[in-house]
């Protein structure tokens, strides 16, 4: 997928980029293992989003449904959104107190590029959940939230 027209020299402005992402999210992505939608249809700046990740196979997260909050500020997509887990989770890149993903510990946020999308973030996080340093960590009970 190429949202944002990378390589062509065409720069898609923020609001149009978010509208593209909204449309894509509404249609549904791939096998449904990650999804997202806008929280408030009346927010003309389209800032608050909820993402969902279905825990990957061969990990302690398998079968769990994790909810996240993504916040795209006015400087998105020049800057990455802030991302935090709503569902409690134990992962090396996630703050134990707040659920916030620490950008320095999560590559796609640390090395953010304008073409990256919320879908990319969720897909990468799902991979991260299955990574050797995360997939066996003891998890808080299901259905608990930050």
């Amino acid at each position: 997928m190429t949202l944002g027209g990378s390589g062509s020299g065409v720069v898609v402005p923020r609001n149009f980029r978010l509208l593209e992402e909204l449309e894509r999210g509404e249609k549904g992505i791939g096998d449904g293992s990650v999804s997202y939608g806008m929280d408030d249809g009346d927010d003309i700046y389209m800032r608050s989003w909820t993402g969902t990740i279905i825990g990957p196979h061969n990990s302690v997260h398998e079968g769990r449904i994790c909810q996240l909050k993504l916040f795209c500020d006015k400087d998105y997509p020049e800057k990455p959104p802030s991302v935090r887990f709503h569902s409690r989770i134990n992962m090396t890149c996630v703050s134990h107190e707040t659920g916030v993903i620490e950008p320095a510990k999560f590559g796609i946020l640390a090395n953010w590029q304008r073409e990256y999308t919320m879908e990319d973030i969720l897909t990468q996080l799902r991979k991260e959940m299955a990574a050797p340093h995360n997939r066996k960590l003891v998890q808080p009970p299901e259905g608990t939230f930050f």
Partner: protein
């Protein structure tokens, strides 16, 4: 970078929009991105939107003019399946202006507002006037 290789068609259209603007419509490209326009449409006289200044953002995607300009969430056939490369930015903006004069509740973006419009037009028009005063007075 954003302005390199801007197709001649876009340059021509932009020049004409600036030199011969359609009445009640202004469209000016952003300096950093010539495909991104700030648009203002004045509410047509004798419509509930009279006196309002409506700000829009317009973006010409890479495929333009084979694909329609993008304009946020507006339900207008020429922005979707009725688009033709023979149409222009100007035609699109004139169509939106016409939509303000004659809303089309049979093909709405918002079902609730369309329902209101069809069941009690006088009241819906009053709401439109009030919202124009509250949110589009140009202040």
């Amino acid at each position: 970078m954003a302005n390199s290789n801007l197709p001649r068609r876009i340059i021509k259209e932009t020049q004409r929009l600036l030199s011969e603007p359609a009445p009640g419509i202004s469209a000016s490209p952003s300096e950093e991105n010539m495909r991104y326009f700030n648009v203002m449409i004045l509410g047509p006289t004798q419509s509930p939107y009279e006196g309002g200044v409506f700000k829009l953002e317009l973006f010409l995607p890479e495929e333009y003019p084979m694909a329609a300009p993008k304009l946020g969430r507006i339900c207008l056939d020429i922005l979707k399946d009725k688009w033709s490369p023979a149409l222009q930015i100007r035609t699109v903006l004139l169509s939106i202006q016409a939509l303000l004069s004659a809303p089309n509740p049979d093909d709405p973006l918002s079902d609730n507002i369309a329902k209101h419009w069809k069941s009690n037009e006088a009241e819906a028009v009053e709401t439109a006037k009030e919202w124009t005063r509250l949110y589009a007075s140009g202040a």
